[in-house]
Symmetry: D2
Subunit: 179 residues, 4 copies
Amino acid sequence: MAQRIYLISTGGTIEKVYSETTGTVKNVDFKLDRYLQSLRLPDLEIDAVRLMNKDSLEMTDADRDLVLATVRAKLVGIPAPFVITHGTDTMVETGLHLKANLSDLPAPIILTGAMTPLGFERSDGLQNLTESLIAARILQPGVWLVMHNEVFPIDRVRKDRERAVFVSLDGTGPGAANS
Amino acid sequence: MAQRIYLISTGGTIEKVYSETTGTVKNVDFKLDRYLQSLRLPDLEIDAVRLMNKDSLEMTDADRDLVLATVRAKLVGIPAPFVITHGTDTMVETGLHLKANLSDLPAPIILTGAMTPLGFERSDGLQNLTESLIAARILQPGVWLVMHNEVFPIDRVRKDRERAVFVSLDGTGPGAANS
Amino acid sequence: MAQRIYLISTGGTIEKVYSETTGTVKNVDFKLDRYLQSLRLPDLEIDAVRLMNKDSLEMTDADRDLVLATVRAKLVGIPAPFVITHGTDTMVETGLHLKANLSDLPAPIILTGAMTPLGFERSDGLQNLTESLIAARILQPGVWLVMHNEVFPIDRVRKDRERAVFVSLDGTGPGAANS
Amino acid sequence: MAQRIYLISTGGTIEKVYSETTGTVKNVDFKLDRYLQSLRLPDLEIDAVRLMNKDSLEMTDADRDLVLATVRAKLVGIPAPFVITHGTDTMVETGLHLKANLSDLPAPIILTGAMTPLGFERSDGLQNLTESLIAARILQPGVWLVMHNEVFPIDRVRKDRERAVFVSLDGTGPGAANS
């Protein structure tokens, strides 16, 4: 039986698209699916929830509660790992909200996103998605942020906006799980 | 300080290139580097060893001994995870050789490869490389095979040639680490 | 009313695919369509004929007669330009056969192909296809070979196998139409 | 001797890049070079002039005069075709300015650009660049707009903003040169 995973998309840069009429980059369409199709996932059963499609700077407390409620509802059913795609600016905030309100998790919850939208030159989107989907099979229960070949416990990470990377809070580098 | 990883390349389909003069696909050039450059690895220090560039059906016992000796030599120095790129046909054989001859591993050893060469349409090469590089940071010490969003202990996996996938020996699906 | 074009595919490297079971590159599936979809052709009506899917070294006199008969049949109907995708090794031979047996052409016939299959890293296939489709709208009636930003009258060109390029017979460079 | 071509870049969507710090798409870097490297141009000698990098809505009369002066200066030297990359919003205006002020052209001048930046998913940039570079070898002297497999005399074309295409002024479709 294939491994089940819950994939909750909330928007963020990873799903932004370029508009030819306005020349801007916005959250309009869900586009993870197109890129998931380029991956080989013979043993994965993805239960996808398209929750919202927002720039994470526009996410409200109500939005974060909705993410939490969605996770809770799935956990009542069949326990399985979660990958949540999210804008990077408030990804940690949402992750901390989940951590503060969920206990005895049976599986890991992974937040991920991208600095450049999926499908744009030099995008990190597919890398982060690929990493999160396999980390979901390996990591212990807990709330994690996975991007750029790094795995951070959600309460030990912050975004370094100028360098467009996430860094460990304790300044000693990434909180890789086995180091 | 960045996470160190040893990346040992031995050839296999993942590094095959198309020859315009012969119209065939062969192991000639090392090409992992070009694809690694498309990944964001801000906290990874890759110590790359280009050991050989062979179709894995042509690998000899001496070749497998050389892989083993290379791993041993690195372990004597600075312990760190290994990712070994390898042809899929005898990847398990090489992995079992490592497992049988190494004990008290301080870090995981991951074998990976591809069904279609890196950079060819529908290639699984970059996916497998991305997965292996992050699995190397998370998995427990041991010898693993990582491909297609699956993680197998090396002694519980075989290649299903007709379907071009790896499957669990016990027939119950992939040996995902946390399931 | 959109510009009509006849697109006759005969195989050749441009349509070769990689087989995961054999590790070889062969003419099996027609795949031009997938790549044509990546082009914007708002004013083009493509009448596609999948005639055969052969390595051009295996094309026989009967095959070349079939290409000729197909062109003739279309010309009896609605006159329009032709793009013929073809293996590079005998592309000139087929082109000369068309030129020798067709007179008073109402539109150009363009032969094109690729040195590396469509969708493989560093492929020239989409470039050559793109060039041929626009050259078909501009060139005068006649039989032409279009590849690598060059336009050759079919009776003034040969393949330079070692360099994997086409060169002008007269040694003075490509027979670009307006130079 | 290779065919010479003058490639004048003025900016526009084709050269826009995504900024990770602002989340916007802007004219900052010249990036045609990176994409030209993916094309095979064995007989082309590109004389590239990076004139400016502007959204075409911000181009002034002085800017258009500078484009004209640049063309004139090159024509005084070695006559050769021109490809001018330009934002689509005022591409026709610049083209008409060139046509009104240049006479007895020895070679074609082609304006091109893109609806979506080079390297973004579904971009038409590389297609338009490829088309323009070969059209430059075939078209008669004059000022032309080349995009999306269409060739328009500059005084018979306008942009249809809603459909993100260029259309013929006379409403009868594209002004393809040989139809």
